[in-house]
Every structure is written in structure tokens, then in C-alpha cells.
């Protein structure tokens, strides 16, 4: 069967992938450069009998998504910096109550209203630590059209599987650019649907062993359950008992950190014999790929580690590479965020350097090349 190649905008690719992944609820508030996701969903979801609603703000949008998710829906919202900031309290709610939901954050220049129409990669640490309290988080970041599609599907699947919010990071460049893509057949897409919780009178909705992923719990399944933003016991009822709180904190952390193999994903480019490694993601990784080729032409053995999973950080994978590679250049459109992680993971014998910029202008391959050249000098 001949497949059709299409030219589509990044936001639309993400929206299409969401529908393919089973998304049947969207609530959002318009914001550049993410609004096309909402616009697409407003036209397409009702065709399938699914729900779309434009809420009064981003706090409300994520609230509505969580409510819908608890009612058995697969929910999506999309936003950018200012809206992502507003969503932080509800992100924490989805973490503590263990509710699947996917949030697309298309990064633009900040802080505050900042540079609405210019790209940035400056919400990397906000995605990790924006909501208060200790918590695990999953954040993915595609760089190319086919990755936007596959990572969006993966975001929904991970969210369902791990009972957790998942953030799909994009930047203004990849979200707004129109690129060609071959949309896979629905049949080829593996969609994960959590099994229903075998509820009983005792309502042990959160009861499980450490490291175990529980089946999904929804409302209206025959047993009236309670879901709380307060710390809770195995029934979901509020508690401040230190032993129970310890247990719940550990359960939430370990469901993610004991299964990193199922979450961490990355791509490598010309890394086999690389002596200098670029660590990058999103639009910056695109410049980095071209820079690797340019560097090789000039005899610099460069390679690229492109993170697709940003959080949890691919710590083990980088450590493995640092056994052989002693130079790492982080390239990112911010004033130094993921570089801190790279430095944390790098052993003492590894030289670290970063190419950073937060003025709304993406790096060119020549700029990355220049930075590599200075680094090997």
C-alpha cells in the first residue's frame, strides 16, 4: 500500500498523533505558538463524538483534563510558557493523585510574556521542578516531524501506563514549521490502554508493592472512590501519618525510577568513534546534527546524543558514554539549564562546555561548529 507523504505543521502532527493515541478529550486556552493544536482538536474531536472545550484559563484547562481523565477519557491540553506556569499547581495534583494526562508545552522566549513568537528551550527545569513538592515527572522532546508523531503517541502511552502526567516539550521552531511526514497507519500504532482496577468493597485503589504499576482507577466503575489532592492512604483518604506518607512518596517515585528502561529514549548520530559529544534536543539538536557532519569534514570526530526523554534525565546512558568520551558540549536555547544535569552526571575527567543563547534566535550549524572547534583547541 502506498503511503501518503504530507506537509504538516508540527502542532498539527502532534494533534493528529494524539487522536491516533486515543485522545478523546481536549481542554485548553489559546496561546502562541501552540494554538493550532486547540484549533485542530476543536474541528476534529467532535467528528468522532469526542469532547473539546475552550476553558477560561490554563488552570481551568488542566483541571478539566484531569476531571475528564478520572472519568475514563484520554485527555490533552496544549500551551506555552505563561500557560505552563499557570498549570503547575494542577500538574502536581495529577502527580499526587496519579492521574494520566498529556500536556504539550511549546516553548517560547521568556520570562513572563517574553518573546511570544520566538523559540526558546527555557522551560526545561520548570518542566522538572515547576510544581511544588518532591515528585517524579516524565517529559519528552522530539526534534523532527516523525518524532513529533511518535513521541506524542509515546506520551499518551507512558501516561496511561505509569498513571502520571506526561509533558511533551516542543519549541516554537519545530511546532510552527511545516515539514513533510508519512503518517503511519492506525494499525501500526501501538496504543496502550490501562486495565481496569479490580475494585472491591475495601477500595484499595492505591494499594500496591513498591515498583509495581497499579491498574487504572476511574470514577463510575461501580464502587464510589475518593481521589484527593491531599496526601492519602491506600484508599485515597487523607492522611498525615508519616509512615503512610513515606510509603506513598516512595510508591510514586519508584513506579518511574524503577522502570527507566521503559521511559528513557534517545538517538545517537555518528557516535561510534566520536571523541567529542554534543548533548542536545529539539531545534538545537537539528543544528547539532549538521554541525557534526561539518566537523567531521574538518577532521573533528564529533557525535550527537539527542535526548528524546528529557525527564527522567538519561543519566545512566550519559555516564556510560563518559567512560570513553571526555568532551561534552551541551547546546540549548537557554542560559544554562540541562547543562547543569550534564555537569552533574559528568565524571571529573570529563570536560564540559555549553553553547547557550536565549535571545529568540536558534543556533546555526556554523555556530555549533565554531563552538566545537574552540572546544578541541
Amino acid at each position: 500500500m502506498s503511503k501518503k507523504r504530507e506537509v504538516l505543521q508540527g502542532n498539527i502532527i502532534a494533534a493528529k498523533a494524539a487522536v491516533a493515541a486515543g485522545c478523546n478529550f481536549y481542554a485548553g486556552y489559546p496561546i502562541t505558538p501552540s494554538s493550532e493544536v486547540a484549533q485542530y482538536m476543536s474541528a476534529e474531536l467532535p467528528k468522532l463524538g469526542y469532547d473539546f472545550i475552550q476553558m477560561e484559563d490554563e488552570i481551568a484547562s488542566l483541571g478539566a483534563c484531569i476531571g475528564a481523565s478520572l472519568s475514563g477519557k484520554k485527555a490533552l491540553t496544549a500551551t506555552s510558557g505563561p500557560g505552563f506556569s499557570l498549570m503547575q499547581e494542577h500538574l502536581g495534583m495529577a502527580v499526587i493523585a496519579e492521574i494520566p494526562v498529556v500536556i504539550i508545552n511549546v516553548m517560547r522566549g521568556g520570562p513572563s510574556t517574553g518573546l511570544p513568537t520566538k523559540p526558546a528551550q527555557a522551560d526545561m527545569l520548570q518542566a522538572r521542578w515547576g510544581t511544588h513538592g518532591d515528585h517524579p515527572i516524565i517529559a519528552l522532546y522530539p526534534a523532527f516531524s516523525d518524532e513529533i508523531y511518535s513521541e506524542t503517541i509515546r506520551a499518551f502511552n507512558l501516561s496511561e501506563k505509569f498513571w502520571t502526567p506526561v509533558i511533551l516539550m516542543m519549541d516554537e521552531v519545530i511546532a510552527k514549521a511545516h515539514e513533510d511526514i508519512e503518517i503511519p497507519d492506525q494499525k501500526e500504532i501501538a496504543v496502550f490502554n490501562g486495565a481496569d482496577h479490580p475494585l472491591d468493597e475495601d477500595l484499595n485503589i492505591y494499594d500496591r508493592q513498591i515498583g509495581e504499576i497499579p491498574p487504572r482507577v476511574d470514577f463510575f466503575k461501580g464502587y464510589p472512590i475518593h481521589i484527593d489532592s491531599l496526601e492519602h492512604d491506600r484508599h485515597g483518604w487523607p492522611t498525615t501519618d508519616p509512615a503512610l506518607v513515606d510509603k506513598m512518596q516512595t510508591l510514586r517515585m519508584q513506579k518511574i525510577y524503577s522502570r527507566l528502561d521503559e521511559i528513557i529514549k534517545f538517538k545517537e548520530y555518528r557516535m561510534e568513534d566520536a571523541e567529542i559529544m554534543i548533548f542536545s534536543f529539539g531545534v538545537s539538536a537539528r543544528a547539532a546534527i549538521a554541525a557534526v557532519d561539518l566537523a567531521r569534514q574538518q577532521g573533528i570526530k564529533a557525535g550527537l546524543f539527542q535526548a528524546l526523554t528529557i525527564w527522567p534525565f538519561p543519566e545512566r546512558e550519559l555516564k556510560e558514554r563518559f567512560k570513553r568520551i571526555k568532551k561534552v558540549l551541551t547546546v540549548e536555547m537557554n542560559m544554562g539549564q540541562m547543562k547543569l544535569e550534564v555537569e552533574r552526571v559528568a565524571t571529573d575527567d570529563v570536560n564540559t562546555r555549553a553553547l547557550l543563547r536565549a535571545n529568540g534566535v536558534p543556533f546555526t550549524p556554523a555556530e555549533v561548529l565554531q563552538s566545537l572547534k574552540e572546544f578541541v583547541k
Binding site: 467528528k47 472545550i53 481551568a60 484547562s61 470514577f219 464510589p224 475518593h226
Partner: protein
């Protein structure tokens, strides 16, 4: 076991409320309204934000959801749209509903989404220990207005009527019988409904304002509530110290949001889809 006790989750007792708090009356009255309507517990969801009143859903033996401060209506909106056939109830304190959640309140009213809201107005931030709320009367002493409150208060029900809520009623915790009737009526209403229940917080509001026990404070509440007909006859000066009780607005004609969505938007979209596929797009 009495009828309404089916709807009470005794496993999670005791409640955190102070002796004499009106919240207990509201809890029981809502359970009675559920029983009056014979609603299956699993077809009900009760959602709340944060506050003393926000703790109430824990004690209903229905689906229950305790969310963030002021945002219960947003979660309830998602639930109602996802499951329009369910009875979605929101319990909210006056700070929760009209300060931090004020924006969601007027938009839920404007949309006429079929959520049944019980707004417990005790005129104070109870849970945090007695700071001023947008519904605290002027001149009252609170923990954050030690020299008296200079801000005028919202009239919550009237604000909701202006925001086009299709069912608005006001009652007090002293009038349990009429309260049960209006809550029941509000549950039967299809669109967005709000029952504002004037309640007593003698501990955090009363104590600092010469209303320090439940009897004195509920008498004060009673002295201020009048029927709509009585209220209409008052001078504007007299009105400042009174509020009408009973059903203040009931519009049965306006279509409920999720009904409109499924009856109008979904068919229109499906028609567009059919047209697009016929044109080979």
C-alpha cells in the same frame, strides 16, 4: 439505617469541623436530597476545592474528588462533559468560590454547564484561621482586617444571576427543611445551579465580632434573611444588612452545555466530516 445514610461514608469520620459548625447540617441535607431523589451513589460525584467546606466530599459514600483551592468547578466541567448523564455536585466555600475561584464561577454560570453547586457562605476563610473573604461584611474584624474590613462584599447569588446562572437559590443552615427542598430542586435542574447556603463560623468570624457561639451567630443570620417580597420593600440602606432567601432565579428554557455540545456541535462536525470525505479531502 435511615435512607440518607446510604450516602454517608462513615468510614472516614470524624469530620474536622468545630462543634456547632453549619457544615454538618449541609452534609446531612445534601445526603437527604440524594435520598429524596433516590440517586444511585455511583451515579453521583461530589467535587470540592480546599477549605473546611472542601473536606465535605470525603464523607459522601459516592464518587468524590477533593482538588485544589478554588478549582473544583474546572474539574467538574471536565467530568460533566465526559459523563453528561452523571450528577456532578460541587461544594465550595465563599473564598474558594468567589476569590480564587471567582473566574471559574462566572464562566460555569455563563456556559450553563449542568453542575450542581452548593456554595457555603460563612463569610470568612475558615480553614486558614479567619482571614477576610470577599463575602465578609464590611467593618468586620478578621485576622487580616484587624482595624475592620473596608472592602464591600459580593452578593454571591446576585453576582451569579448577572453571570446568567440558570438556577440560583439562597438559604441558611437554620432552615434545614427549605434548604433540603431547594437543594433537591437544584439537583433536578438541568443547567448550572447554585444554592448559596449562609452558614455560621462562630469560631473564626463570630468570635472576633461579638457572635462567638453558634446560637448567637445563627440568630444573627436569621435576623438578616428575609423573603424576596420582603426584601423588595426595603430601602437601599436597609437592604445593605439583609438578603433574600428562596429561589432567586430559575430558567428552565436555557439548554445545558453538554447537551448543546452533543446535540449541536457533534452532529455539525459529523456532517462536515461526511462532506469532506464525499469531496475526497
Amino acid at each position: 439505617m435511615r435512607d440518607y445514610e446510604r450516602y454517608i461514608r462513615y468510614r472516614t469520620f470524624p469530620t474536622p469541623w468545630c462543634p456547632g459548625c453549619g457544615d454538618g447540617i449541609v452534609l446531612k441535607t445534601i445526603a437527604m436530597a440524594f435520598a429524596d431523589l433516590k440517586l444511585p451513589p455511583d451515579d453521583i460525584i461530589v467535587v470540592s476545592g480546599i477549605g473546611c467546606s472542601g473536606r465535605m466530599p470525603t464523607f459522601f459514600n459516592t464518587n468524590t474528588l477533593h482538588v485544589t483551592h478554588g478549582r473544583a468547578l474546572t474539574f467538574a466541567t471536565g467530568i460533566k462533559l465526559a459523563r453528561p448523564e452523571k450528577t456532578v455536585v460541587v461544594i465550595s466555600g465563599d473564598g474558594d468560590a468567589t476569590a480564587i475561584g471567582g473566574n471559574h464561577l462566572i464562566h460555569a454560570a455563563r456556559r450553563n454547564i449542568g453542575i450542581k453547586m452548593i456554595l457555603i457562605n460563612n463569610g470568612i476563610y475558615g480553614m486558614t484561621g479567619g482571614q477576610v473573604s470577599p463575602l465578609t461584611p464590611q467593618k468586620f474584624i478578621t485576622e487580616t482586617t484587624p482595624y475592620g474590613n473596608i472592602e464591600p462584599k459580593f452578593m454571591a447569588s446576585e453576582l451569579l444571576i448577572a453571570a446568567k446562572a440558570s438556577f440560583v437559590a439562597r438559604e441558611t443552615v437554620l432552615r434545614m427543611h427549605p434548604l433540603r427542598q431547594v437543594i433537591k430542586k437544584s439537583f433536578e435542574h438541568k443547567g448550572f445551579s447554585v444554592v448559596e447556603v449562609i452558614s455560621n463560623c462562630h469560631i473564626n468570624l463570630g468570635r472576633r465580632n461579638k457572635l462567638k457561639d453558634p446560637i448567637t451567630m445563627t440568630k444573627w443570620i436569621a435576623s438578616r434573611s428575609v423573603t424576596q417580597a420582603e426584601y423588595d420593600k426595603l430601602t437601599s440602606e436597609e437592604k445593605a444588612h439583609k438578603y433574600p432567601v428562596g429561589i432567586l432565579m430559575e430558567d428552565k428554557e436555557r439548554l445545558e452545555y453538554s447537551e448543546l455540545y452533543y446535540k449541536h456541535i457533534v452532529p455539525a462536525a459529523k456532517e462536515a466530516a461526511a462532506k469532506q470525505s464525499a469531496e475526497g479531502k
